[in-house]
Symmetry: C2
Subunit: 215 residues, 2 copies
């Protein structure tokens, strides 16, 4: 079998998601590091693998896959156990909607390249950048908290009592929030699920601080 190799960066939320998924599936993998602040994701050898110049990229089964959620769906389809998505279509839609609220409504607006662009384009200082970051987290976290707290689909984790795709997106966002002083008090359900996730080695071992390239 060919080697499974994750191209990532310790602080990338999207790479963090893939690390958690690989760990939950108990797949062994090697890591290659692309230092985003040094622009290593723009190196020609990497652009050949991943034309978007974004981490993560996963070399697996002879293919190079990009986009964290596409990678997670691939892992689910090719290695179904343990499942990262519910078995029923309505449950799957709920879990994916929670995952996408995090992965589409918060993360793309708040990632490093956008924050850097705000500085460059609008002269945003650290306080303005923090205000921007906090705004988009609050917009979506409030709705996710309401949704999690009011749905009987919620269990120990975002959907039922086993960790899955929504938790995989939630934990990296909560970790990211700590760098921008987000008050988590208004989100007790999110906080409870976050804590439950971190008790699992699959999540704890995937933390940015645990990666070989952590600073």
């Amino acid at each position: 079998m060919s080697q499974t190799l994750l191209h990532g960066y310790f602080r990338s939320s999207a790479a963090f998601r893939v690390r958690i998924a690989l760990n939950l599936k108990k797949l062994s993998y090697d890591q290659a590091f692309r230092h985003l602040r040094k622009g290593e994701q723009r190196a020609p050898d990497f652009l050949k693998l991943a034309p978007q110049g974004l981490v993560p990229a996963l070399e697996i089964d002879g293919n190079t896959l990009t986009q964290s959620l596409a990678i997670i769906e691939y892992l689910e389809e090719t290695r179904p156990e343990p499942a990262l998505l519910p078995k029923d279509a309505a449950g799957r839609a709920r879990a994916r909607a929670l995952a996408y609220a995090l992965a589409m409504e918060i993360h793309p607006i708040n990632n490093l390249r956008v924050l850097q662009d705000l500085e460059k384009r609008f002269g945003a200082d650290a306080i303005a950048v923090k205000g921007w970051f906090q705004h988009w987290v609050k917009e979506t976290f409030g709705a996710i908290e309401t949704s999690l707290a009011s749905s009987k689909g919620t269990g120990v984790f975002c959907h039922g009592d086993t960790p899955g795709i929504a938790d995989i997106c939630l934990v990296p966002q909560v970790v990211n929030n700590t760098r921008f002083d987000i008050d988590m008090a208004p989100y007790p359900t999110i906080g409870r699920i976050y804590k439950a996730c971190l008790e699992l080695p699959a999540f704890a071992d995937a933390m940015p601080t645990k990666q070989p390239d952590a600073e």
Copy 2:
């Protein structure tokens, strides 16, 4: 069978995606309109259905689903034909990665609420907003063009010769681009696929200008 009802807005790219998917699957549906510029997505009755206050939301099979791509995956799982995703896992990963590049790397940064926030927070004028919009389109369209033009997975459409999830995300973005004067000349493959899509009624009938709430 219960009524299928799409809560949308003619100009919402995400609602546009769901309209295309419903049309490709030949599902009949009614529409309810939430005027985003008037803030109708924040009305209490809608927030009860969709706590995030975002369109689209789809009432179907007795459930209310949110997040356009979660809705599309649900339609695919419950109404498999005609398929909107390839049959093989690697092909599915490729199609999803293209879809997510559009849905995660461009659209969330460029949607109405973010552009309005740039005006409010940084005093961005129309020219600055256009510069922002164009920047994020170009960042990703360049990579998608490279990827589509160089892959043998590309056919008449983004993946093979039948329309699918990547095309469903591509067309609304190209339509959106026209409002911000994006020069499409550097993207001939994208342009060719866009044209092929619009020859199909499923895409043409879903166009914003064809919706009852179009202005």
